[in-house]
């Protein structure tokens, strides 16, 4: 038996979303159990099952938020300030 992680997706709009896990002997049975357990009332129109031991998990440290890379963000405040200043100087 293998543990499978189950992902479902709705209506072509959203991303695939992890909804839980199940235990099954084969890929085929895993898909059947995913449908019976997680898609009982049209919760999604697509399903992925992935064996848990096939999921590659990155260390938390590796994906820590990049607090030292502020240049990757721009909150727009500086631009707004300058735009306002420019508007006022033209009046």
């Amino acid at each position: 038996m293998h543990v499978y992680e189950v992902f479902i997706k709705k209506d072509g709009r959203d991303e695939f979303r992890h909804v839980g896990a199940l235990e099954a002997a084969t890929d085929e049975l895993a898909v059947v159990l995913a449908r019976e357990g997680y898609l009982r009332r049209a919760e999604g129109d697509r399903v992925w099952v992935v064996r848990r031991d096939h999921v590659v998990v990155a260390d938390d440290d590796f994906v820590d938020p990049n607090a030292d890379k502020p240049h990757r963000h721009h909150d727009g405040a500086a631009v707004a300030d300058r735009r306002r200043a420019s508007r006022q100087s033209q009046q």
Binding site: V3, V19, G20, L22, E23, A24, A25, R40
Partner: protein, 307 residues
């Protein structure tokens, strides 16, 4: 391990800050065991509830309701699956160990599934009153539970329990609109099931309840129980039934229903030594587990794929 905490104080500070614990976190052992025991009991209750429901599939009146009962039984078995899965991920017991403990009579499940459902009226009372009590408890856990996997799986369970509760109310209304004999039958069922349903919430929470401190539950038992009382006492009365509480009164000052003193002895006795129907229910579940061994063997063999 994703995260770890040096001391219980650090862990509790993390919880107090609204932190969510995940399955691969190195959580304190006491927390792991507490959250495991809570989910295991919920899983057992779903499964034992499903088996009760299953008993009534052949006896359910009308094809539409029979189909709905079939779907509900499947839902409850499904909830058992989902919950046993996240419980097993805590690494305290495997899914098979949990099931074997349950069928050996070593595990706990909700008090209501230790009593016998005698008539269709009983089954309706259970579907209406007990499912509602379970739903109120689960909603309170879902709202703020510190264990992430449980909280996420509760979202789907609660959605489906909502269907069950409406189905229960639908059946109750049909009986309420029925003949004097049907109404009499339901009143008798109410007399049998009102108190066990109310006791599903358990006695008042102790002041230092660790389930509350660790946000495994987020509301006190008495608060949840009162929510149920305030909703179901007037509802049952509006359908012309009598709430079987001799000391029931409307507290004009607090503007609330007061059911009077609660006798907790039946609950204590049931949880300690089982109830009138425990042996039969557990025995039948255990027999069923044995008789279906070949199905599990066939499924785990995986059709010769070498799995």
């Amino acid at each position: 391990m994703a995260r770890s905490w040096a001391t219980m104080e650090d862990f509790e500070a993390f919880l107090d800050g609204g932190g969510l614990v995940e399955a691969d976190d190195d959580m304190p052992d006491a927390y792991r065991r507490a959250v495991f025991a809570f989910i295991e009991m919920h899983a057992n209750s779903e499964l034992m509830g499903a088996l009760t429901e299953r008993d009534w599939i052949p006896k359910t009146p009308g094809l539409r309701h029979k189909m709905a009962v079939l779907a509900k039984t499947q839902d409850e078995i499904g909830h058992g699956h989902l919950l046993y899965m996240i419980a097993a991920d805590l690494g305290v017991k495997t899914r098979t160990q949990m099931l074997e403990d349950l069928f050996a009579g070593k595990s706990r499940f909700h008090n209501v599934f230790h009593y016998r459902a005698v008539t269709w009226g009983d089954q309706v009372a259970i579907a209406f009153l007990v499912d509602a009590a379970a739903l109120i408890s689960q909603q309170a856990v879902f709202k703020n539970c510190s264990y992430g996997p449980y909280r996420r799986i509760l979202r789907r369970i609660i959605t489906e329990e909502g269907f069950h509760m409406r189905l229960g109310e639908d059946r109750m209304m049909r009986i309420a609109e029925g003949t004097a004999r049907q109404r009499g039958m339901f009143q008798e069922s109410l007399d049998r099931w009102f108190w066990p349903a109310l006791q599903l919430f358990g006695p008042d929470s102790v002041p230092d309840d660790e389930l509350l401190r660790w946000r495994i539950k987020s509301e006190r038992n008495e608060v949840l129980r009162d929510r149920w009382v305030q909703r179901f006492v007037p509802m049952l009365q509006s359908y012309g039934f009598t709430v079987p509480a001799p000391d029931l009164r409307w507290d004009t000052e607090a503007e609330r229903w007061d059911v009077g003193p609660i006798d907790w002895e039946p609950l204590r006795r049931t949880l300690a030594q089982g109830g009138p129907d425990s042996a039969r229910r557990i025995g039948e579940a255990a027999d069923n587990w044995q008789h279906t061994a070949w199905v599990r063997a066939a499924l785990s063999d995986g059709n010769g794929s070498g799995a």
